[in-house]
């Protein structure tokens, strides 16, 4: 996609590949954080593996930013511990914060240059990498504009660029990808995948968007400061119930009974539409169309979203015991 134009620049860069004997680059063990008398995080256990992209999905106020600030070293956990895969790393975690860090008087270029220089990136590399990063983030046109005059989306891109430029085995991105337009999101995501493949970097993507969480390899769900789920997005989605298949008009009323018999389902009438629920809607639709395609005017598959599952989780008290690869269920 868009990355092809940057391939040569990436190749020329002196790459640091992160390798470890132990696979976990970051381990959170029973991390809790109390602030103003309430527990913003409670007994969080997470393990981020080398070259992994972990999405942490949570609603506003669920504890995502507290988690990001603890990982950034801006807050100390009240209890529990954080272990890094390689204790010799000077900067074990880079964090792109939800509240973008910028000097409003400095231009976009100067902001990135300031952060890159204090992070020890030499001048020659900075002059090469910053323009490439600005182009990647579609900020080239705004490079000479003071950061204080940028829109919210452009600020988010600048903050992501800042995080991506810092050399560290793990990059935490707090709720910034949610603010990107789809086309820019794709370009940024391609670059994240490239960094993952070429340098073995790991990413923790904190998000309130189901679509962003879905893109990550593995996801965790944070609810009321607790990790409620760790596993595949498909498994979490099932919390919101099974897929719903909505049927269009049927010329022959007997068809309804035949479908019920054939698929062993119960067809209900909701809001004037006939529908039924099944576990794997995409498979059933194929079967339905091959058997009854001539008798039904249309078929519509409605899959529950991760947001629906998050809603179901909130209504159910915030705790579930599902998922794969979960280290601890609270």
């Amino acid at each position: 996609m868009r990355m092809s134009g940057f391939a040569s620049e990436i190749d020329e860069r002196p790459m640091r590949r992160y390798t470890l004997n132990v696979m976990a680059v970051l381990t959170l063990e029973n991390v809790s954080r109390q602030s103003a008398g309430t527990w913003a995080l409670w007994d969080v256990c997470l393990e981020i593996e080398l070259g992994e992209i972990l999405g942490v999905l949570g609603r506003s106020g669920s504890g995502k930013t507290t988690l990001a600030r603890i990982l950034a070293g801006l807050l100390k956990p009240s209890s529990g511990s954080i272990k890094f895969g390689n204790p010799d790393d000077v900067r074990p975690v880079a964090v792109a914060l939800s509240n973008p860090a910028c000097a409003p008087e400095l231009t976009v270029y100067e902001n990135l240059d300031m952060f890159a220089s204090v992070c020890g990136i030499p001048g020659r590399r900075r002059t090469k990498e910053i323009p490439a990063m600005l182009q990647r983030m579609q900020l080239s046109d705004q490079r000479a504009i003071p950061a204080g005059m940028l829109s919210g989306g452009a600020l988010a891109r600048m903050e992501i660029a800042r995080g991506l430029m810092i050399e560290s085995p793990v990059l935490v991105i707090d709720s910034l990808l949610d603010r990107l337009e789809p086309a820019i999101f794709e370009a940024v995501w391609d670059y994240i995948l490239d960094l993952k493949r070429s340098m073995g970097r790991s990413f923790v993507i904190l998000t309130g968007s189901g679509k962003v969480a879905e893109t990550c390899g593995r996801m965790a769900v944070i609810s009321r400061g607790r990790i409620a789920f760790v596993g595949r997005s498909e498994d979490f989605r099932r919390l919101a119930g099974e897929d719903m298949i909505v049927l269009g008009e049927m010329e022959n009323p007997i068809t309804r009974n035949r479908i019920e018999e054939h698929l062993s389902v119960v067809i209900r009438e909701e809001d004037g539409y006939l529908s039924f629920r099944v576990a794997h809607g995409e498979r059933v639709i194929g079967e339905l169309l091959s058997e009854f395609g001539n008798e039904i005017s249309c078929v519509y598959l409605k899959r529950p979203t991760l947001e629906d599952a998050l809603e179901a989780l909130a209504q159910g008290g915030g705790h579930i015991a599902a998922g794969t690869g979960q280290k601890k269920v609270n």
Partner: protein
């Protein structure tokens, strides 16, 4: 090195504000001009004597306001998350303050010297 880089960027930031730049320059210039024009005035002499203190006070107030604004904007958090200690941050701000003070005093001394 990081401290110096941050100090240079901080001076840049402070001097980008037109009003602030004017105020920082106007204080020593005004006091020095009063001192030149009213040579025998005790008030002018007193003002010239306390001018460095006024400049230091002004710079301290500006740096404090900037620090508060930077905390609110998230810049301090961003720098801290880049493994920059509070001490480095504070030292860089102090260096930028001292540099601006030096510029003010140079301006003040240059104008005072003009009478000779």
């Amino acid at each position: 090195m990081r401290t110096l880089t941050l100090a240079i960027y901080n001076i840049k930031r402070l001097l980008r504000h037109k009003t602030l730049r004017t105020i920082l320059a106007a204080l020593p210039v005004a006091v020095a001009l009063v001192r030149i024009i009213f040579v025998n005035s005790a008030f002018a002499q007193g003002a010239a004597r306390i001018c460095p203190i006024l400049c230091v006070g002004l710079i301290a107030a500006v740096l404090y306001a900037q620090w508060i604004a930077d905390i609110a904007s998230g810049l301090i958090d961003g720098l801290r998350s880049s493994q920059i200690s509070h001490r480095t941050l504070a030292t860089s701000r102090a260096i930028s303050g001292v540099s601006i003070f030096a510029l003010q005093m140079f301006l003040f001394a240059a104008i005072i010297a003009m009478r000779f």
